[in-house]
């Protein structure tokens, strides 16, 4: 069987989801919810099948990269940027993650959105959600399969658009269902923050084009060495500006502010886009640009530091959050920091490994959180009518952890899968997160100790806040009537959760020590540079890639963090309305965490409000008062009116043209009045006229 023919199937990964979205868009109104969901999930599932086939084909052909040209796009003179698909180990890995996790989330979303549109009283919006989800899959596929920076950017922008559309899905309300600008503002914030990042990306792309005369990966990476030798600052510039794009898309410092607000979107969106796939695009970008980054160690250090600092920063904020999804959002930012730090340091395999495992357990955690929220909503709706009537007055937040408690009794399946996800995230052996995080820590310890300590503290805090979350949500007594009546979610929701839980447990198998399957797989695409750095002997120990001391330290710290969280939140569970005990312990420090270091307020004061002031100035003063009131009214309109009223109307029209017209009329009248005198009625004068005529004619004849 000629497997190379399989490579030509690669456009299907984009066009199957596109077909799914078109079918749902055009015919969706006539379909039932089940049909819509099935169409969308099938499209995504088939894309996964194609990706798997591509992976298989790649594996059997030795892992060499394949470029599958698809269409002519830009062709101006010597500039030729076609739409070509790149099938190599890195892109196929991303394709599998996106379509695999994506399909599970599609299936979950059938059940989730069925309940969500009913809680928000708009069943007709079900169709739109799945159209957007398929659009997202298509765009993400374009991103990961593009063969040039430009195709990557097309997908980059496309997923940004889908993020906007999906965050603002309930655009007219806030998360609690009240009419508000909140959700649409969150979508706008995501779009704008991403835009700032895109500016960085574009500057890097322009520079790449200017110096390399091409945007396609092969051409750029082939020339990288020469250009670096001639002008190394160019590569530095490119890599740093690509980093700006990464901080926008992957929510690092300083452009991460959109991701917590993005929790306003429905939970499947948070899982798919803001945990598993879109936010990892930045990590993918750095991994893809490995040949550029390895040439500039300064840029690598910058990237690693940005990742490390973000990881710690976000972890501290997560400790003080009360909303179940917000904790997970900051956790995502923190874990992305891990990934960015890893690929920044040159540990590309470690970074991509963590990307995959994080996709599994973070999607699991988000989807389970969605299940918890739905359970709380169901509980709220099934309250006895008397209390139900009261609850309509008070605003109920189903995601507030302070309202939850003891849910493991009402929602057992959700509890167990959530526990699996938590342990994976905390990095407890043998769950998936342990293996990937540990690899990052090891590489950091060897290459960049500062980042190692940043990441270690972040890992400690990660375990702590996840433990805090589990004790608050699932243990103790319910702190609100809704939690008492919470119900477990249906199978269409819990089955994908169980699949993801399985992956979170077993995902470590991708790159176990001694086997290192993923390193070998990715090694076909990314050449890891071997750096000779003097490391301490205890760091040099390697059990097939695993260092026992680093692993031991991280495990001990994680267990210690979980123990601390049990001490505070588990031993004496919280009561209704009780203030968080950590707040009493830490005081103002906790407030800083709770208020997320006031970053939004600072941005607002420094940037956003200044911008609004500028635009108000431009609108009111420049546009209205100057341009409209003065220039248009006085200068243009005034001149025009002067011209038309005074000059043209009065002088020209009335005095000149009318004079001519009236004069002509008067002249005609005068002439006719003179001629009228001939008709005086006197016969004699008529006779005279006759004689006159005779005389004239005779004279004429005589003179002829």
């Amino acid at each position: 069987m000629d497997l190379t023919r399989l490579f030509s199937l690669v456009p299907l990964i984009v066009f199957l989801p596109a077909l799914g979205l078109l079918v749902n868009l055009i015919f969706g109104k006539k379909f039932s919810e089940t049909v819509i969901g099935t169409v969308a999930s099938t499209a995504s599932g088939l894309a996964f099948v194609v990706s798997a086939a591509l992976g298989y084909a790649l594996w059997t052909t030795g892992g060499a990269a394949q470029v599958v040209p698809f269409a002519e796009w830009i062709h101006i003179g010597t500039l030729n940027i076609p739409w070509a698909f790149r099938v190599d180990t890195l892109s196929v890995l991303m394709m599998l993650v996106v379509s695999g996790v994506g399909t599970l989330i599609h299936i979950y979303a059938i059940g989730y959105m069925h309940e969500d549109v009913r809680f928000k009283n708009d069943p007709g919006r079900f169709q739109r959600f799945f159209v957007y989800l398929n659009l997202f899959i298509a765009m993400m596929m374009i991103l990961v399969s593009g063969d040039s920076y430009l195709m990557l950017f097309v997908g980059w922008e496309g997923v940004g658009l889908c993020s906007f559309l999906l965050i603002g899905f309930w655009y007219e309300m806030d998360t609690l269902g009240r009419p508000s600008w909140a959700n649409s503002n969150a979508a706008k914030k995501a779009m704008i923050a991403n835009r700032v990042g895109d500016f960085g990306f574009l500057m890097a792309a322009f520079t790449i084009f200017w110096y390399f005369k091409s945007l396609s990966f092969d051409a750029v990476f082939a020339q990288a060495g020469q250009v670096a030798a001639v002008s190394p600052n160019v590569i530095l510039f490119i890599t740093l500006f690509l980093l700006i794009g990464v901080t926008g898309k992957s929510a690092q410092l300083p452009l991460f502010v959109w991701l917590p607000d993005a929790m306003a979107g429905p939970t499947p969106v948070s899982a798919l886009i803001h945990a598993a796939t879109m936010v990892t695009a930045g990590v993918y970008l750095v991994a893809r640009s490995a040949p550029l980054y390895t040439l500039v160690p300064v840029a690598q250090q910058t990237v690693a530091l940005v990742g490390g600092i973000t990881a710690l920063f976000a972890a501290t904020i997560a400790v003080g959050q009360y909303d179940i999804k917000k904790v997970l959002a900051y956790s995502t930012i923190s874990q992305l920091g891990f990934m960015v730090a890893a690929v920044g340091m040159g540990a590309f395999t470690a970074g991509m490994f963590h990307l995959v495992t994080h996709a599994f357990f973070k999607a699991l955690l988000f989807l389970s959180a969605g299940s918890v929220i739905l359970g709380m909503e169901r509980g709220h709706h099934h309250l006895p009518h008397g209390e139900h009537g009261e609850h309509h007055e008070e605003v109920f937040d189903p995601g507030d952890m302070r309202n939850m408690g003891g849910l493991r009794k009402q929602m057992p399946v959700t509890f167990w899968v959530y526990l699996a996800g938590t342990l994976a995230l905390a990095g407890i052996v043998p769950f998936a997160g342990f293996w990937s995080k540990d690899e990052i820590l090891l590489d950091a310890a060897r290459n960049f100790p500062v980042v190692y300590w940043l990441l270690t503290v972040a890992a400690f805090l990660t375990a702590f806040y996840m433990g805090r979350q589990v004790w608050m949500v699932f243990f103790g007594k319910p702190r609100h009537a809704a939690a008492e009546h919470a119900e477990e979610s249906p199978k269409v929701i819990t089955v994908p959760l169980m699949v993801l839980a399985g992956l979170s447990v077993l995902g470590g198998a991708l790159n176990l020590p001694y086997l290192n399957s993923l390193s070998a797989w990715l090694g076909h695409t990314i050449e890891a540079a071997e750096r000779e750095i003097a490391v301490a002997p205890w760091l040099q120990v390697s059990w097939g890639g695993l260092n026992p001391w680093v692993a031991l330290l991280s495990t001990v710290l994680a267990l210690a963090a979980i123990y601390f969280s049990w001490l505070i939140y588990g031993r004496k569970p919280l009561e209704t309305g009780q203030v968080d005990p950590l707040k009493k312990a830490l005081g103002p420090v906790f407030t800083i965490f709770e208020r997320k270091y006031w970053v939004d307020e600072v941005y607002g004061a420094l940037v956003v409000n200044r911008f609004v002031d500028l635009s108000r100035f431009l609108a009111d003063v420049i546009d209205w008062r100057f341009w409209h009131d003065w220039f248009h009214e006085k200068v243009i309109a005034g001149t025009y009116q002067f011209l038309s009223k005074t000059v043209l109307n009065l002088r020209v029209d009335q005095q000149f043209i009318d004079a001519i017209a009236n004069g002509l009329a008067r002249l005609t009248g005068w002439v006719s009045s003179q001629l009228r005198r001939l008709q005086n009625g006197f016969v004699r004068s008529y006779a005279l006229a006759v004689l006159f005529g005779v005389v004239i004619i005779l004279g004429y004849l005589l003179l002829k």
């Binding site: 006197f682 004068s685 005279l688 006159f692 005779l698 005589l702």
Partner: protein, 174 residues
Amino acid sequence: MNLTLILFLVLAVVAVASAAGLLLSRNAVYAALFLVLNFATVAVFYLLLGAPFIALAQVTVYAGAIMVLFLFVIMLLGAEKLPKAVGLPWQRPLAIGLAAVLLAEAGWLLFQRLQLSAVLANPDVTVNTTETLQALAKNLFSQYLLPFEVTSILLLVAMVGVIVLTKKEKGEAA
């Protein structure tokens, strides 16, 4: 100078004078009588020209019938005298001028432009009146018979027309 010429000149003066009298007299009856005199002189001219029949016809028809008719109407309407003139003061000088111009043009035309010299070269023409009259009669009733008949119809029409025009309607006050 022979007798004919003297006669002609005298009669010419009389004719012009009587025409002037017609023009200038204030009294319509006088004007009519002047005109009768004019007609009479012209009748004599006809005789001089060897057209006795026409001369007699002139006296009979013009002076006898037409002028009598004129006098009848003048008497009938009592139009002997007319009040002083009003309106068109400019008519008179202009008319005199135009008449003079007409006369000059006529003279020019006849004597300079038309080749009358050939005709005028034969001043001495004797006329046989008897032969002329016979020729006249013969022509009238053969070659010019149609105009003759038409003229008779014309006279009939004139008669009928006059009676119809002047007939009073029944019951109309006189």
